[in-house]
Amino acid sequence: MFPKPIEKTSRAWQITYQTLLPLALVVWLLPLIAVAMFSIKSSADFATGNYWGMPTSFELFNNYGKVFFESKMPQYMLNSFLITVPTVVGAVALSSMTGFALGIYKFKSNLWIFFMFIAGNFVPFQILMVPVRDLTIGLGMYDTKLGLVLFHIAFQTGFCTLFMRNFIRALPFELIEAARVEGIREWQIFWYIVLPLMKPALAALSVLIFTFIWNDYFWAVVLTQGPSAQPVTAGITSFNSQFVAQYHLMSAGSIVAALPPVAMFFLMQKHFIAGLTLGAVK
């Protein structure tokens, strides 16, 4: 193990380490702690310049209540869910199929198609912006959730295919050969043999894509406009212009907007990290 396990070092260093750790964490999360503190203060504190002292009153429920009942925040949050969840389902479905095809079968263009998916996944969004926006308008889907969902599914398929194909490749190929000897049809191999084995990959990919899509901002501003379709990342701008310079409310709004992926991460940590670090170990 590297570095040297702390239990095997001197007592003095052990104590230093144990005190250093929480301090480092506080410094690391300082900007976030600041926002969390802002979000429970009252507007009076800001008016009197009491930015960093103790809050004169505890306004947690008041501030967050305003976010939920006096702004369009719930609508934006709902939009975000209605965009994110179908995208996760679509991208995972498409890529388990492409991953299966590329991971199991040997044919000439296999690697080429695989690398097309990887390459597309690295491309800067901006080169897609003008044509995709044009296409979405042409399909009559500008400023709709569906327009955003379709694009996200397509783009995420690149990364998801990379992920799924590598996962399926690591499965024991003898299983598939044995099934073929038994005369099982190819689609049945996919459905009854490969898919059940892919559960960990499906879980990991779902949480990852959920986070990516929830946090998307660029496509939200390119493909949507108003509160009927905008997800929360784009909507927070209009939220902030509704409460200009009211830092306690803006902070509360940001925390609400950031919460679902954070909750997802803490609930599904194992899968999330397994997905994110795929390939970091050989």
């Binding site: 193990m1 590297f2 702390i6 380490y17 750790l21 964490l25 690391w28 900007p31 976030l32 600041a34 800001f46 930015y51 960093w52 498409l94 890529s95 199929m97 492409t98 095809a101 590329l102 199991i104 198609i113 690398f115 097309m116 998916f117 390459a119 597309g120 690295f122 491309v123 800067p124 969004f125 901006q126 897609l128 912006m129 003008v130 044509p131 995709v132 296409l135 379709l150 397509a154 490749r169 050969e177 689609w187 929830w214 946090n215 901002y217 501003v221 927070i236 701008t237 830092y247 940001s254 950031a258 954070v262 997802m264 991460f265 803490f266 990290i273 994110l276 390939g279 970091a280 050989k282």
Partner: protein, 308 residues
Amino acid sequence: MTSLTAGSTTPHKKGWYARNEIKVTPWLFLLPGILFFAVYVIAPIFQSFWISFHEWDGLGEKTYIGFANYERLATDRKFEVSFWNNLKWLFLYLLAIPLGLFIALLLNQKVWGIRLYKSLFFFPFVISQVVVGLVFSWFYLPREGLLNAVLVTFGMEPVNILGHPGTATYGIIAAGLWPQTAYCMILYLTGLNAVDPEQVEAARLDGAKGYKMLWYVILPQLRPATFIAFVVTIIGALRSFDLISVMTNGGPFGSTRVLSFFMYEESFSEFGFRMGYGAAIAVVLFLLMLCFIGYFLWSMFQDEKEGR
């Protein structure tokens, strides 16, 4: 094994599909994915190239103007600023890799509660860049911000990082480094977990420790993690858009523009949409990125060839 498989799938008197099942199935499975990907990702790349040779407001007719958009770029001061800022992003963003490694080494222990520490160090990565941008812009606020409150406590002059053209870009990059470092950290933590303990012990018996141990024994074993950290960091640096848009909107005086932001700004310019010019900027960004993408793909391709 293979001959058995082939034998079982070519019996007589079966339909065309049954006879060609192994050949046809992968294409049926690939079809929806490829279709989506071709329409929304592959084709738009070529369309952008084509649009960049036109003058177009996004609605009316496109007028072919050859390389005029690119010639204009060459003399555009805004383009120059954006390009240099992109390079700043690229180099400074790479700091996330050593920083991430440092934190990973700090946290690679088995003390009580370390799992919670690891996830708390990691979780800035999960927050959307929009919120990270807002959080940092409030952190930097000249009057209300915590940064200046801390600086003043230590007897230093308060600063207005995002208000000055000389410092604004660095302020944004620092905000971007926060989640990116967390990402690199988690990659290295996973990598450190898989470091071969026997090699470490052997090296320790040979007297290697500290820095030398890290450089000659640990880092070579962390190569896959380092490769991925490079890929995601470089791509992330060149994609930077959210933070700039939220924190400064390109200002002050256009000093924080990067190509991706400049492209967006020109395409939806308040003086009419300039889609052709925007596409030309996107093409330049794409070509810049292509150098890296090409290298990444090449390395991955080498790995694939080694495999089965």
